[in-house]
Structure formats: C-alpha cells, structure tokens
Subunit: 235 residues, 2 copies
C-alpha cells in the first residue's frame, strides 16, 4: 500500500495514497506543482466532509499557485473511512462518527504517519496547517504533538464537541503563529466557546478574525487571506 493513481489537477499533480497507521489504513491525497515544492501545507477537512471536499480543493489550488504542496487525509470515521457509507448527518451522527472512528488519538496518529510518509518520499520541508471546525479538532492535538508546524489557520471550533477537553488542554501547547477564524452567528459551535479556545492558545502570535454569519459562511476573502497568511508564515 502506498501511491495509487496520479492525475492532473488544474495543471498541478494530484496523487492518491493509502498508508498503514498502526492497525489502520489511511486514505490520503497529495498535490504538488509539476516542478516540485519547497514547502507543504496539511489540509484538515470539516465534520461530515472528506479529504477532497469542495473548499479543500479550492485551498489546495490556491496553495499550489503559491508553490506550496498540499496534503489531506480522511479524518476518523469520515470519507472513505466511513463504514456506513456517505452519511450526511447532524451533530449527533458526526460526534458518533468521530468517536467510533478513534477520535483525537487516531487522528493525531494518522496525520503523523501521513506526514512521515510524505517526508519519506519528498524530504523534510517547512510545513503549515489549515483546518477549521473538525479541521481544528484534528489540528490542535496534531500541532501540539508534532512541533513541526510553523504556522496554522484554525477556527470554527471552541470549548465544544466530542474532544473539547483535549482541545482546551492542548491549546496552550500551540506555540506557532495562528490565524483563528470565528463566525459570530455560529449555530453549531457557539461564538463564546470559540473565543474561549482562542484565548487558550499558547502562542503570542495569534489573531482572531471574526465575521457575522453562520458556521459554514466564512467570507471568501478570509479563505484567500488565510492562504496569503500561511504563505507568509510557513518557513
């Protein structure tokens, strides 16, 4: 198990892979400019979504245009790792999928093994993290455990959900620069809890960008600006 098919991705290269992680098989995807890349970003998808969901592809493309390779995997109980098929459930179903998929421990191990696999083939490069909502549920524990992440975009998550105690416990260990996106009218993760999690982040270099609107309504300019932010700070 390792590299699967390779295909064109809007002029860049996309390669799927499957790797072993402990007793599991983790499906992932890796995008790279045809001339290679000197930096890497890890893209953590949101709850009920998967490694090739719409905005992850958009982000991959934006980073590729800036010469940065991108890596995504399906999180616990999500995407190709969803035993029940393509569920699109509510919060309770999401929490069940996360937890029965192994939660924080599985996610952290799988992202670690995936990075190791990519670094084995392409070498060690400066690496960043982009992930909001479940992308932050995966991101904070991974960044705290890995210590290689030079900058992160996080958000849409708070003192909330099935791994909130991990998030609140591990956030103080985050020491890299962080851009944190928050939606003032978040109907899933209430803004108050998001502000609490932002406060807990240990880094002094953190900026919260708060906008009106619902959980999934981050303005487009925050996406493009977050890519500029990471492009500047992954080093």
């Amino acid at each position: 198990m390792s590299w699967l098919q390779e295909k064109d991705f809007n002029g860049f290269t996309e390669r799927k892979f499957e790797i072993p992680s402990y007793e599991r098989t983790v499906p992932g995807v890796y995008w790279e400019p045809k001339s290679g890349a000197k930096r890497l970003v890890m893209l953590g998808h949101g709850g009920t979504m998967h490694k090739r969901t719409g905005y992850i592809l958009t982000l991959a493309h934006l980073f590729l245009q800036n010469g940065i390779a991108a890596l995504a995997i399906d999180g616990p109980g999500h995407g190709e790792r969803d035993p029940a098929g393509a569920w699109r459930g509510g919060q309770e179903e999401f929490k069940k999928a996360w937890t029965s998929g192994g939660g924080t421990k599985t996610s952290t191990e799988d992202w670690g093994e995936s990075l190791k696999f990519i670094e084995g083939d392409f070498g060690v490069r400066p690496v960043g993290w982009w992930g909001v909502s479940m992308g932050t549920m995966m991101g904070i524990p991974f960044i705290a455990s890995c210590k290689k992440i030079s900058a992160a975009c996080l958000g849409l998550m708070g003192n909330w959900g099935p791994n909130k105690s991990d998030l609140m416990k591990l956030a103080p260990e985050i020491s890299c620069p962080v851009r944190f996106l928050a939606q003032w009218d978040d109907e899933i993760v209430p803004i108050g809890g998001c502000l609490e999690l932002f406060e807990k982040l240990g880094t002094k270099k953190k900026t919260l960008h708060g906008n009106p609107g619902a959980h999934a309504a981050i303005p487009n300019f925050e996406f493009t600006d977050s890519v500029k932010y990471l492009t500047k700070h992954i080093k």
Copy 2:
C-alpha cells in the same frame, strides 16, 4: 479663520486650518498629495492624544502613499483645545476632558463642519474613517449622523466610558463596511465590552481582528492592513 501655514510632509503637503463650528474654533490639519487626491480619509485620534500624534502621522503618510488625502482635528478637550495645557492624565482626567469639551455632540458637529470645509475647497469625494479608542468614540456618532462614510476602521472601544450610551445606541445605525480592531488584554477598555460594541454594529460587512496585548499594543501589521482595507473600500 481658515487656512494657516502650509508645509512639506515627507513629499506631501500639510496644511493647518482653523474653522468655526457653532460657537467654537476647531483646529485641524489636512494632508494631500501634490497632485491632489480623489478620495479622503478622516483620522480620529485616541484619548489624551491630538491631531498630529505619532500614529496619526504614520497613517496619514500611508494613506497619502495610496493617493488618499487625510483630515484630522483635535477632539473635544484635546490637543490645542485643551484649556489646561498638555495634560497626560489617566482615565478620570480623560473622561473629564471629553465631557467638559462637549463630548459626543461637540465632536459630531466639529467633524461635520470640518468635512464641509474641506469639501468646500476640494469638492465632494468618497470618504472613509479611521479611528480607534477615542477615535471610535468620535467615529460611531459621526458616521451614524453623516451617512457619507463608505468604510471605517474602528476599535479599542466598547460598552465603556463617558459616551457609552451614545455608542451602544448609534452603533446599529452604522451600515458601511467596518474593520474593528480589538486587543484581548486591553487594560483600559475590557475586551468583553469591545465585543459587545462590535456585535451592535448594524453593518453586515464587519470583521473583528483580535490580537493579544494591551490597549496601545495593536500590532504594526494591523495598521498597515487597515490602510489596505480602507484603500480598497473607500469608494
């Protein structure tokens, strides 16, 4: 009373003026590129400061470099309008100066007369507002009354201080795009009240940028980025 001396300002033109506003005399300053400007920004200084305080000059220079003229006046009880001379007092002294200087009503009238004066000489142009702390105490009532402001940078102010009831009452009338700067460890205007004021702003196009640190410790990148923001949105 009108234009006073003109001088060079780092390659741009600076002109002081004094205008009548109701029964008062308002001292102001106007900066313009030598070739003129098609847009204007109003710069509201912070409490205990004045129209030519350090960061106001920095902002003026940044806007001028983008081809935008700038206007600043001394707020109520401040700068050349401080009858007691150059006080640099604490919060109590500041509140006394603001209130005995005429507070919200005086500030709003004086900014209105100043804009009228500048528009009389240079014509009506798209206009923006930049002002945090006391610059927001002046800005929210002025923007609510004037309706000409096409975008504003506000912040460091909340449900706080001598005109807090005006701010909370008038914030819902703000309908232009707003960038709102907040400092998470603000020792003067607590962050909770700042978030309340941000929430009250009536515009749907508002973004809060929150950073760690004290009241006067807005990171430099927020200054430069706010200038980019207004340069984009003053139209």
